[in-house]
């Protein structure tokens, strides 16, 4: 990062950091949010709301474990419902964080420095939310550990041909790497907080978490190397995790699932929804905490562009699905297409097309890309659209498959909604705490965006 040669300050685009900042103002501004800023009534109220919502999740899960998955709307033939929809949706959302922190890091996209911290946090929380569902959706969750290959007296192993086992590995790896990556990135900032903290307890906690960071050149060297390696490790995960998740569907024989386009289309969709979530969070946070200097319009606009690009890939995916439905000559696939358009869930499908393909086309226009209001609205629409996409893939494919005698309908119950909104509560609760406990923008990385960070390079260039 420190090797950036061009700092696009004089760019005609918006800067990645507003002028007038120095190492100390950055440190102060960001750490003050954690250390100095008093707890506002708004924060408390908001926390109360999201925390209550999280408790709805606990309630819903408690009742679920007590009674069984029958409290949900799933049935035969729709064996998977909200749980798997939510799982895929949350995992997808997580992808933006990894993409921003790892891939953009490797691609030297330094503008990412101001948004990667909370994007990574978002990843972690989203994956945590996602992780609830594979466990909760099993009929006997207390035995779900059987999906792990652990030594046992029966000599019994998981069935490695099942995509669900691949899922277990993919998601657990993803969560682990994301957590380590995030934590390593946090270390210099934790040290900053330690140094700035006044209360001995706060200082102690941050001190322990900072793992003895002193900021020596050797520390920085090791740190940079580790970070780069982790970025390298995380990069394939961006592609592999959702590819594996898409295998849950693509490996099966269900019309609407059994298609080879799923891996790229799922990954694009994941990034699409992930950036929508980044915008959804970044826009209010920067306004509330006065971070417009660090999360500038440049960041928002770039995110909008990523959304537009991935959205087009997703649209291409829909197009190919429809085309193959017709071109393959397979009547089951053709029926699936017909059923999406004319079946009982046609309104949902049209809603999906509208929110994932039609509405995001507004992002072609700079006016919408640079308006926080429109960006926020569009990202909400995309988030809803991507949820709908999973609904269409899972429910609509399952509800009418091969034997028409066994067709069915899916009616989600209040417990489905409680679980879904509960995970949103859990996600936001974690976010709420995160913004007050940890620096939501990376202090050390943001500092590298300042011209001062590049004096050596400038000197080199001058020579």
């Amino acid at each position: 990062m420190a090797t950036n040669t061009q700092i696009p300050v004089a760019d005609r685009r918006a800067p990645v950091i507003e002028p007038g900042h120095s190492f100390s103002t950055i440190g102060e501004k960001i750490s003050n949010i954690v250390l100095k800023r008093p707890i506002s009534l708004g924060w408390v109220f908001g926390f109360f709301v999201v925390f209550s919502l999280m408790n709805v999740l606990l309630l819903a899960l408690g009742y679920l474990f007590l009674k069984g998955t029958g409290i949900w709307g799933i049935t035969i033939p729709i064996g998977w419902g909200f749980a798997i929809i939510n799982f895929v949706w949350w995992i997808g959302i997580g992808h933006a964080g990894t993409l921003i922190s790892a891939i953009l890091c490797l691609l030297r996209q330094s503008w990412r420095n101001s948004i990667n911290r909370f994007a990574e946090a978002m990843t972690l929380f989203a994956v945590a939310c996602a992780g609830i569902f594979p466990l909760a959706h099993t009929g006997r969750p207390w035995l779900a550990y059987w999906m792990f290959p652990y030594p046992n007296t029966m000599g019994y192993w998981p069935q490695f041909r099942s995509p669900l086992i691949w899922d277990v590995f993919a998601v657990s790896t993803y969560f682990t790497i994301s957590l380590v990556f995030w934590f390593v990135g946090l270390i210099p900032d934790l040290a900053t907080l330690r140094d700035r903290a006044e209360h001995p307890l706060t200082r102690g906690i941050y001190g322990i978490l900072a793992m003895g960071w002193r900021g020596s050149a050797r520390h920085w060297h090791r740190y940079e190397t580790a970070y780069l390696l982790l970025a390298g490790l995380a990069t394939p995960l961006v592609l592999s995790v959702h590819t594996v998740v898409s295998f849950d569907f693509a490996v099966s024989i269900v019309p609407g699932w059994h298609t080879t386009i799923f891996p790229p289309y799922f990954v694009a969709g994941a990034i699409y929804s992930g950036f929508a979530m980044v915008l959804c969070l970044a826009i209010p946070i920067r306004a509330i905490y006065g971070l417009e200097d660090f999360i500038t319009m440049r960041h928002l606009e770039n995110s909008g562009k990523v959304m537009l690009a991935t959205g087009l890939i997703v649209g291409y995916g829909y197009g190919i699905e429809a085309f193959m439905g017709w071109y393959s000559g397979n009547t089951f696939d053709a029926f699936l297409l017909w059923n999406r358009l004319h079946g009982p869930y046609s309104a949902w499908y049209l809603g999906l097309i509208a929110s994932n393909i039609v509405i995001p086309q507004l992002l072609w226009m700079k006016k919408f890309r640079t308006s926080t209001f429109w960006l926020w609205m569009i990202s909400l629409v995309v988030l809803a659209g991507m949820w709908l996409e999973r609904f269409i893939i899972i429910v609509v494919s399952l509800h009418r498959d091969f034997l028409n005698s066994s067709w069915g309908m899916y009616y989600p119950t209040k417990w489905d909604f409680m679980t879904f909104f509960g995970t949103i509560g859990m996600f936001l609760t974690a976010m709420w705490l995160f913004v007050r406990i940890l620096p939501m923008v990376s202090i050390s990385e943001l500092r590298t965006l300042l011209p001062e960070a590049h004096v050596h390079e400038a000197a080199e260039v001058e020579k």
């Binding site: 998977w80 009929g139 005698s405």
Partner: protein, 1007 residues
């Protein structure tokens, strides 16, 4: 309560009455028996009270007095049921006795090895001969009696499901007087007084109301009472009566006769609104077998014409079906009969529409071509005139004596049901009745509306009202005394099958709730209390027995399940009337009443197996619809879910609409049996009661019903969405079907589009080294959609019932289902039935996706489900193209009710929540046979082993066996040209395959 300790404990073969028994006597007893009865007598003896007593006497009394027990059977029952019974019997003192372990294990009673007893289930008087599987004296499964001509191994849904009634925890468990618990003594005391009074006046105030009685013993008991008390009267009522049949016979022959058909010899069958291929039609089990035996397109295939009103499974199997309003069928029958018999060209008072006339002409030509080998069957709903016409046609065609036989009525009292009940109510209202004994039945609920039976019963006009019924039902509520009726598996009795063959009904278990049989109630009237059912039945048959060795005769009858020589011989009848004019058909919307295919007249309302049994055409569960045809729905702008109000003769009933393809226009069908108010936890409140619309004048159909939409909607729980029945998708039809002519030209039609077996990336698994490789074939041509396999499977495999709410969500648990499809115009489509169990695919999509390997392939090709390993991801079900997997979304299985614990098949594990389950090809039966074979150092032979669905199938439509045995029946079926795989194009390579359907339409009519 000493009297509860009776000797009716079990299948008792020891003749006469003995107070004591010792080992020497046992030995002597056993020495007498030889041959096939030998094994039977042993355990029967062990179950007898004498044997128990003998054992008990060896131990000091105090040693086992902590548990009251009257027999080993009773002990087992009490052990299992202790929880519930503790509360239930809290008010009655159980007799004290000792229980000790066997000193010497009785031979042949091996825990884990079931025994089979022959007995009979009775519905509407007609006995279904059955074998009951008993595990340590607990009946666990009902099978057909393969040696009995009325069964040949098949059963019907009601007989299959009657097992659940035995263990029904809602059954009445106490004798009550005005709701208070009383003892049997108190009851006898209460009846004795009035009886004494009645004796003085020749029983003038005594009325006995029974259901149809075919029991020779009970009939002779009642008759002998009536002989001594000539003023007493015996009334019979049955809501699903055969009055029309009997009246028709009376008109035609001057006497009531039973008509019996031999469908195995019939080339052409014409049904005039007769649903003879579904349970409830007398002899249907045998008729299905005979009908199906003639459906082989490679043999001499029969042809079925059905002219019917309400679509039935019989109609759907027809080669030609002609929908007609019930009131128009009379005219059609008249026209047909004229064409067949007189050929005058007269068409009666109503001319059927020209196209119908053309149809009838072709039918009559076909009948004429097959004179002597055809059958005309008139339905029970059709008025006597139609029966007269059918008799006339059968006679004119020379069918009588060849395919049609007349025998004495099975019904011991073939009085007109409605008239009989009318008289009773009149007498009740007139204050002529002092003592009313209602033995079975539920007239308080199902009597004709205009009689207002319930109010007559409620009034104080009758001094003493006694009701004997299994449940404290609507009628019992209105009587002072209620005596719990023993289930037929708990009490001795006898009954006649549709051909007159008598069977001894022998109990397999002591009454769970101290129930009494009708026989025992009559003993009080006759002044011979203390006589047990066993004594009565045995005494009756002793009198009938002419030979010397009654003991052997009795044992043989018990063992075989029927009494030799009791089958009614065909009798000669003289035709009095050869033609009868049909009643004038009325205009207006016609209202049809039909028995419910699942719960019959309402008596099975609390039988959850039957409640959840998808009805053959609608696949509805837990409810009865108001059924109309598509044309009428369109005209009235009615759709599924709409609730309509039916108004008929001032009475109103509301019910949800079901649009049934093939239902005639301008006609409504409602189904009896629902809307019970006192049925029990399963039946109370389910559906709507249509009895208020039914009068004795119009028991089956009437004109002038008014249909008003209410604007309300109601969800009917159908296991197959209505939209799915008519719009098949896919490259290949799911049910392959051709006409006979087309089949002859292209016998391989069904295989078209199937993936060749060689077309695979992976090498096929070689099963040739295995001893067994299991497979199944289902003949769609034979299947008549009788639903028997579903209940048989449910009983065999301990399948849970989920209830209406869960069924609405699509969470029913049946391992085998019978899909119904229609093809053709909605007003008169062809119907198809397709039983779908697990296909046991070779390339099973479910196995691949299970993350924990809970479903795997066995070395014998079975797709095994390991419940213990299942964590419930449901991925297997998602990936199953046949959707035969069932998931325990909640704790569906009843783990609490102690009675159900007794009922379950101990060979099949009970699944808990969160576990996937599915058809196993009855792997427990495979393993049992394997153990037997291995003990004999041999292998399982073809025919040694039957799956539950196969065994119960009256049509022989299912064959299961070893594919590695080149001579096995299943291999022969699979080698047929008609054999095809369902969704074979997916290359799942199912082990369950189908024989395609071939219809045999009349070439004349096709054009």
């Amino acid at each position: 309560m000493e009297e509860q300790k009776t000797k009716q404990g079990g299948p008792d073969v020891c003749p006469g009455k003995r107070d004591q028994l010792d080992l020497a006597a046992v030995k002597a007893e056993l020495d007498q028996t030889t041959g096939p009865e030998y094994w039977r007598s042993l355990e029967e003896l062990a179950g007898s009270d004498e044997f128990q007593e003998m054992l008990h006497r060896e131990f000091p009394k105090g040693a086992s007095e902590w548990l009251d027990s009257f027999s080993r059977r009773g002990f087992l029952k009490t052990m299992g049921a202790s929880l519930a019974l503790a509360g239930m019997t809290g008010c009655t003192k159980m007799p004290m006795a000792e229980i000790v372990p066997y000193v010497k294990q009785p031979e042949n009673v091996i825990p884990g090895r079931p025994q089979y007893y022959a007995t009979a289930f009775t519905l509407n008087g007609y006995a279904s001969p059955i074998l009951v599987e008993s595990h340590l004296f607990r009946p666990t499964k009902i099978e057909g009696n393969p040696q009995h001509p009325a069964s040949l191994g098949g059963t019907d849904v009601y007989a299959q499901a009657s097992l659940l009634d035995l263990y029904d925890p809602d059954r009445a468990q106490n004798i009550t007087y005005m709701g208070d618990v009383r003892s049997w003594n108190a009851f006898m005391e209460a009846v004795r007084g009035p009886m004494g009074v009645q004796k003085g006046i020749a029983g003038a105030g005594v009325r006995i109301l029974t259901q149809t009685v075919s029991s020779p013993t009970l009939a002779s008991q009642i008759r002998s009472y009536l002989d001594t008390n000539p003023q007493a009267k015996w009334h019979v009522y049955e809501p699903i009566s055969r009055d029309n049949v009997n009246e028709g016979a009376k008109m035609a022959f001057g006497e009531v006769v039973e008509t019996r058909y031999d469908l195995s010899k019939a080339d052409v069958i014409v049904s005039l609104d007769a649903d003879f291929l579904y349970a409830g039609f007398p002899g249907s089990t045998r008729y299905i077998r005979d009908f199906a035996s003639r459906r082989n397109p490679d043999g001499n295939m029969n042809r079925l014409y059905v002219i019917e009103s309400t679509p039935s499974s019989t109609g759907m199997k027809a080669d030609h079906r002609w929908p007609m309003r019930a009131s128009e069928i009379g005219a059609a029958a008249y026209a047909l009969s004229d064409l067949v018999v007189l050929q005058t060209g007269a068409t009666g008072i109503h001319e059927p529409p020209p196209e119908a006339l053309k149809f009838l002409r072709d039918v009559s030509a076909d009948l004429a071509k097959h004179a002597g080998s055809s059958v005309v069957i008139a339905g029970d709903h059709q008025p006597p005139a139609v029966h007269v016409l059918a008799h006339a046609m059968n006679r004119a065609l020379g069918n009588v004596g060849r395919t049609v036989f007349y025998i004495d009525p099975v019904d011991a009292n073939p009085a007109n049901r409605n008239e009989s009940l009318h008289q009773l109510v009149e007498d009740m209202r007139g204050g002529k009745v002092d003592l009313l004994l209602i033995l079975g039945g539920n007239p308080g609920y199902d009597a004709p509306a205009e009689l207002e039976f319930a109010s007559a019963l409620k009034s104080n006009a009758v001094n003493l009202k006694v009701c004997l019924s299994t449940h404290r039902n609507e009628t019992a509520e209105l009587c002072q005394w209620h005596v719990p009726e023993a289930h037929y598996l708990e009490a001795w009795g006898d009954a006649r099958a549709y051909d007159g063959t008598a069977s001894i009904v022998q109990p397999l278990i002591e009454p769970l709730y101290g129930g009494k049989s009708a026989h025992e109630i009559i003993t009080i009237l006759a002044g011979q209390p203390g006589l047990t059912g066993h004594d009565l039945v045995q005494q009756y048959w002793q009198k009938q027995h002419t030979g010397t060795d009654f003991d052997t005769f009795w044992r043989k009858s018990l063992h075989d399940g029927w009494i030799a020589g009791t089958t009614y011989a065909p009798k000669n009848v003289t035709t009095k009337v050869a033609s009868a004019a049909p009643s004038p058909q009325a205009s207006g919307i016609e209202l049809n009443f039909r028995r419910d295919p699942s719960i019959y007249d309402g008596r099975f309302a609390n039988n959850a197996w039957l409640q959840e049994l998808p009805k053959p055409l609608t696949k509805l569960t837990w409810d009865n619809p108001v059924m109309i045809g598509p044309a009428m729905a369109e005209r009235l702008k009615l759709t599924f879910k709409d609730v309509v109000e039916l108004e008929f003769e001032g009475k109103k009933v509301k019910g949800p609409i079901w649009i049934q393809a093939g239902h005639p226009d301008n006609s409504v069908t409602v189904f009896l049996g629902y809307g019970r108010t006192r049925a029990g936890r399963a039946g109370t409140g389910a559906g709507h009661d249509v009895y208020p619309l039914r009068t004795s004048k119009n028991p089956w159909f009437a004109s002038g019903v008014k249909l008003t939409p209410t604007g309300a909607t109601y969800n009917l729980a159908s296991t197959q969405g209505y939209q799915t029945m008519e719009t098949p998708v896919g490259e290949r039809p799911l049910v392959q079907e051709r006409d006979l002519e087309e089949y002859k030209k292209e016998p391989n039609f069904a295989k078209e589009g199937e993936v060749p077996k060689e077309l695979t990336l992976y090498p096929n698994v070689d099963y040739s080294k295995e001893t067994y490789s299991w497979g199944m074939a289902i003949d769609l041509n034979s299947c008549v959609g009788c639903n028997n396999c579903i209940i048989a499977c449910q009983s065999e495999n301990n399948i849970a019932v989920v209830g209406q709410e869960q069924t609405l969500k699509g969470r029913h648990m049946h391992w085998i289902r019978v899909d119904a499809y229609y093809n053709g115009p909605r007003d008169n489509p062809k119907g198809f039935f397709q039983p779908v169990p697990c296909m046991q695919c070779e390339n099973a999509p479910c196995e691949l996706v299970c993350p924990v390997g809970a479903t795997t392939h066995s070395s014998e090709g079975l797709n095994d489900m390991v419940y213990n390993r299942c964590i419930g991801t449901r991925y297997c079900s998602n990936n199953c193209p046949y959707k035969v997997r069932r998931f325990n979304f909640l704790l569906f299985q009843d783990w609490e009710t102690p009675q159900y614990k007794l009922m379950r098949n101990p060979d099949v594990s009970i699944r808990s929540r969160g576990v996937m389950e599915k058809c196993t090809y009855c792997v427990q039966r495979i393993n049992e046979s394997r153990i037997d074979a291995e003990r004999g150092d041999t292998t399982i032979k073809d025919g040694d082993l039957q799956t539950a669905c196969q065994q119960s199938c009256p049509a022989n439509a299912i064959v299961f066996g070893n594919l590695n045995d080149p001579n096995s029946q299943v291999n022969k079926w699979k080698a047929q040209a008609r054999n095809y795989s369902l969704l074979g194009e997916l290359n799942t390579r199912p082990r369950t395959t189908y024989l395609a359907e071939v219809r045999n339409p009349n070439p004349e009519l096709k054009a």
